[in-house]
């Protein structure tokens, strides 16, 4: 029954837990991890690290895990990549999983490469899918060349490690009748405090203006906007729809907007239910950030703009006429 013997077949999901919050990508990874573990005939194991993490052990089991390793801290400390890396490297060497999954969040993408390099194993970045092929190989699907190419990657070392893009998989939902094993490991105050800190978080500088990757509805503006003030019009539309405003890179470069709102390869990759692109031509770098949205609506004066081809509904026309009319109609519906 011991998983440390024989061929590895367990799946390990790293639960991203920072400053008292579990990132929602964790539940998506548990869902995919469950499917992979079933196919491999192994267990789904999760690991959560940090002060207060033991509150979430059951939650991870309800969400699909068979076993949870909880590294509870005796004292609250600031997020520390090196501390998480050490815990993960030791745990992976102990339990020898076949697959290790992280969220492709800024934190996951900073942490996972260190773990992979320490273990001298392969890591595939920002995956859109992961599956087991007919030969039993683990194949990871990921974009490359600024999203222009989709590549299927096989890892020939163990464990197979991947960071997985947020919002690609559906969480299973919580089943409170699910049973599993919780292994609680305490990290003592002595260890946390006396440790050398080559990487030390001194404090939080600022929150994100908006977490656009979480948004279900995004109204985005691009170079078709003439003035910074015109973003207010998009904001009004976004508010009426319960969404948020996003922008393409030129607007961030001209200082109209914070990068927190930038959609694209060098900004944020989003996957909302509705994406309304207003005056955005659709450069490859922008498309790489939004082309997986469920429904894409574009408003553009240029019928030859690339965004038209990538839209479910393309409206060819002046956004300065169409957006105000849309706002007016939406207000009428509210009355």
């Amino acid at each position: 029954m011991s998983h440390s013997e024989g061929t590895p077949k367990d799946v390990l999901v790293y639960a991203e837990y920072i400053e008292g919050k579990v990132h929602p990508v964790t539940y998506e990874l548990l869902s995919k991890g469950r499917e992979l573990a079933n196919k491999l005939g192994g267990s789904l194991i999760s690991v959560i690290i940090g002060y207060g993490s033991s509150k979430y052990s059951e939650d991870l089991i309800w969400s699909g895990a068979d076993k949870v390793f909880t590294y509870e801290f005796d004292e609250d400390v600031k997020p520390d990549v090196l501390l998480h890396k050490d815990v993960l490297v030791n745990l992976i060497n102990e339990i020898k999983p076949k697959i290790v999954l992280f969220g492709a969040t800024p934190w996951g993408r900073a942490l996972a490469p260190r773990v992979a390099a320490a273990l001298k194993t392969g890591l595939t970045a920002d995956c859109l899918d992961i599956y087991i092929d007919d030969n039993g190989d683990v194949i990871q699907v990921r974009p490359a060349f600024t999203g222009n190419i989709i590549a299927h990657i096989k890892t020939i070392t163990t464990p197979v490690m991947a960071t997985i893009r947020y919002k690609v998989f559906k969480p299973l939902g919580k089943d409170k009748s699910r049973k599993g094993q919780v292994i609680l490991r305490k990290i003592s105050k002595d260890h946390l405090v006396s440790r050398e800190r080559p990487f030390e978080v001194l404090g939080k500088v600022k929150e994100k203006e908006v977490n656009i990757a979480d948004a279900e509805i995004i109204v985005a503006g691009g170079r078709g906007l003439k003035r910074k003030e015109d973003l207010k019009m998009l904001e009004e539309l976004a508010n009426l729809l319960g969404g948020v405003v996003g922008v393409s890179r030129p607007l961030v470069d001209s200082g109209w907007c914070s990068k927190d709102r930038q959609v694209g390869f060098s900004g944020n990759i989003v996957k909302p239910k509705i994406y309304i692109a207003c005056g955005i031509s659709g450069s490859p770098q922008h498309l790489a950030g939004m082309k997986d949205s469920k429904v894409i609506i574009s408003i553009n004066i240029d019928p030859s703009a690339p965004i038209i081809r990538y839209s479910d509904l393309a409206v060819v026309g002046d956004l300065y006429e169409i957006v105000p009319k849309l706002i007016e109609e939406l207000k009428k519906l509210r009355r």
Binding site: I18, P113, F199, K273, I274
Partner: protein
Amino acid sequence: MRIIVLIKPTPNIEKVRFDIERGVVDRSSAELEINPFDLHAIEAAVRIKERFGGTVISLSMAPPNAVNALRDAIARGVDRAILLSDKRFAGADTLATSYTLASAIRKLGSFDLIICGEKSVDGDTGQVGPEVAELLGIPHASYVVEVKEVSKNSITVVSDLGNAYYLVRLKLPALISVTKEVNVPRKPKLKDVLRARKAKIEVWDADTLKDVIDVNRIGLKGSATRVVKAYYALEKGRRGIIVKGDEGVQKILEVLKSEGVI
């Protein structure tokens, strides 16, 4: 300060052509240039050098035709450019690439800081920086949006950890990977461009590194991953319905209704 900048010569992604049938990139269709993210890494390094003195050394792993891209790096303030180029390095994934770069850094001797861009426009991984840091046993901060303070023993930066921006202090030597927000790269001056034309780009092959590398860990042989297949992602698009003007307003409302938004 001895600063190493990791530069990836990449094809210009706006110009490069894709072989749509085979799902590969026609590498002859665009010359290699400095990965756009890395321009910000060079600028960050040069700014630190301007304040504290020292040397900026760039390190790249690429085919021999990357030399021109590295002349651009010299024009932008890099003092010494090293190109790791050898058929034996080819086919490397992020693990083998990081190992090769880390080995070359060991050969270079002591350093204070390594700076790289957050990711490349061709690989899109963002993994090489943190992997190099791990292999060298030094701390790193990813997604650095601002360099706050540099001292003899530490660097303090603002790093995006996902949920928020944090002030992070790294003990030197350390590695930072920077975003495009960190600075606005200067355009090289004409005299620097002319000077760079004559500059020598040092080319190191696997033999140059023989004291510091295990040949089983480089190139395709040292890679943990293999590309099984690849295809063009943007070929089709969605090709939905196209309408004009006022009809568009009604159509948008219909879509919003059918999606349950209104």
